[in-house]
């Protein structure tokens, strides 16, 4: 099966606050613009694991929506993601067997990679 992998999402201004509450990661670089600027960042930045969750979502969507289809996902975080900018997740099939597909993935914002060297293993949950 040749999978189509792609997802676009624009996290709104308050997304990092909601993700902080949902995940329990209240590091002020994600939720406090003033603090972020004091430590030399342009503004508060997205949680890397939120961006990774978008890559995971692109995988399960490509596999038909079943969360059991995602068996493994590994990523490297690069650069910084920002709220109010579109994230584009893209991926392509590297190899596949009867019931398993290996994908190469990345996530970008404004042409800059925020996740690179993403690799996912998808399996047919009914297989």
């Amino acid at each position: 099966m040749a999978l189509k992998v792609g997802l676009e999402v624009t996290p709104d201004k308050y997304l990092p606050h909601r993700y902080a509450g949902a995940s329990g990661d209240f590091n002020p670089i994600h939720i406090d613009q003033e603090f972020a600027r004091q430590v030399g960042l342009p503004s508060n930045i997205l949680h890397g694991l939120y961006s990774m969750a978008q890559v995971a979502r692109a995988c399960t969507q490509a596999a038909g929506g079943d969360p059991r289809s995602l068996r493994r996902l590994s990523v490297q975080f690069r650069g910084m993601g920002f709220p109010e900018q579109e994230i584009t997740v893209s991926g392509k099939e590297r190899e596949s067997s009867d019931d398993t597909v290996i994908l190469d993935l990345e996530a970008k914002q404004g042409g800059k990679k925020i996740i690179k060297n993403g690799e996912a293993e998808l399996r047919d949950p009914k297989g």
Binding site: V9, L15, R18, Y19, G21, A22, S23, G24, D25, G48, L49, Y50, M52, A53, Q54, A56, R57, T60, G65, D66, P67, R68, L70, R71, R72, L73, S74, V75, Q76, F77
Partner: protein, 157 residues
Amino acid sequence: MRGAAEVTSRAVPVDAAAKGKTYPPHEYEVGKEKIREYALAVGEENPIHFDREQARAAGFRDIPAPPMFAVVYSAGAVGPAVLDPEVGINFAMMVHGGQEFAWGEPVCAGDTITTEASIKDIYERGGMGFYIFESVSRNQDGEEVVRGTWTNIVRGS
């Protein structure tokens, strides 16, 4: 020679003594509303994460957590390992460099997940310190639900 000395002076001193260290298990009870909160935050659209009937119709024993919910129940085990003074990470210079999860049994509302963290590796490369943590999470039946590899990188000054 001078170049080599400069590189050495900028390198992050890495103490690998804590390699192999393990931490006490952390228990987490998975709640339906916590799954909803997480699923909404990351933009999940599949109704099985919100509706018990639809989850059961899809073959789950209760509402399943999205795969990346692993960070929620693992955090209480991995956090103390990352913060351990014996590991000695300089947090001002730390970035989350990479993450891997390998999933097993699905995690559903009502599950009790026990996670054990350990230090898989500590090494220096290219003047940076690499701290690799592993977490293994099991459900109430002892089945592995996820294995996480957390890579934190400490940059040189």
